[in-house]
Amino acid sequence: MGGIKVYIPDELEQRFRKAAMKLYGYGKGSLSIASEKAFMDWLSQVSEALDIAESIEDPVEAIYGMLSHVKKTGVDLQHEAERIRAKRALKYRNTA
C-alpha cells in the first residue's frame, strides 16, 4: 500500500474526517477508505480526458474567441440556452 501526504484547508479536513468516521467508524482505516474513494472518483472523472486536457497549454486562451462571430452578450446567450433547451424538449415530444 502506498502513502500520500496531502495538504488541504482546515475546514475541509475537519468535514472530511467527520464524514469518514461517521461512515466507516472511528478506527484507523476510515480516512484511508474515504480517501481511496475520493481518489477513485477524481480519477474516473479525468482519466478518459487526460490526453486532450494535457494538450491544452492554456485553458483560457484555448476558448478565447470561439464565439467571436456571435454578436450578443454572455447573459443574452445564457438566456437563449434555456429557450433552446425548451425548444428541443418540445421537438422530441412532437416526434415521439
Binding site: I56, A62, G65, L67, S68, T73, Q78, E80, A81, I84
Partner: protein, 150 residues
Amino acid sequence: MKLKESERKGLLNTVILLDSNVFLEVELAEQHAEACKHLLNKVKDGIIKSAITDFHVDSIVVIMENYGKGWRDIALFLASLLRYKGLMVYSMGLGSRIKATFLMKDYGLDYDDALAIQALKDLSSNTIVSYDNDFDSVDWVKRKTPEDLL
C-alpha cells in the same frame, strides 16, 4: 464596484460560483473578455477557488452547438475545465434540483438561476460571479462581476 482589499482577500479563502456568462464572454471575445480572462487566469492558477455547476457547463455547450461549434471545439472546452487548479465542476443532484424549485417560488427566479443559488447553498457560499442582475433579487447573495474582482 471595486472590492476593498480585505474583501478581495476574503474571496481567496471561499469558493465562488462562476456563472456560464463568464466563460461565454471569453468565447465571445467582446468588451468583458479581458476582465473574464483575468479572473479565469486566477482560477487557472488556483489563486481563486471556484465552482461551476454541471448544468451551467451544459448551457455553454448548448450555446456552442447552437452557434455552429462541432464536437472538437466542445471537447476542447470541456477538457479545458480540467486544467483549472481552482475550479470544481459541481454536479447538481436530484435533491438539489428539487430544492431549487422552492427558490424559484421564493425569489421569482427561473430554473437556471435557481439552480445556481441552490449550488451556492450546497457549497456554503454566498458569492456568484455573473453579469446577470437577476440574482440581485436574492438578498443574501453577493453578485460580483469579473471587473469587480480586478
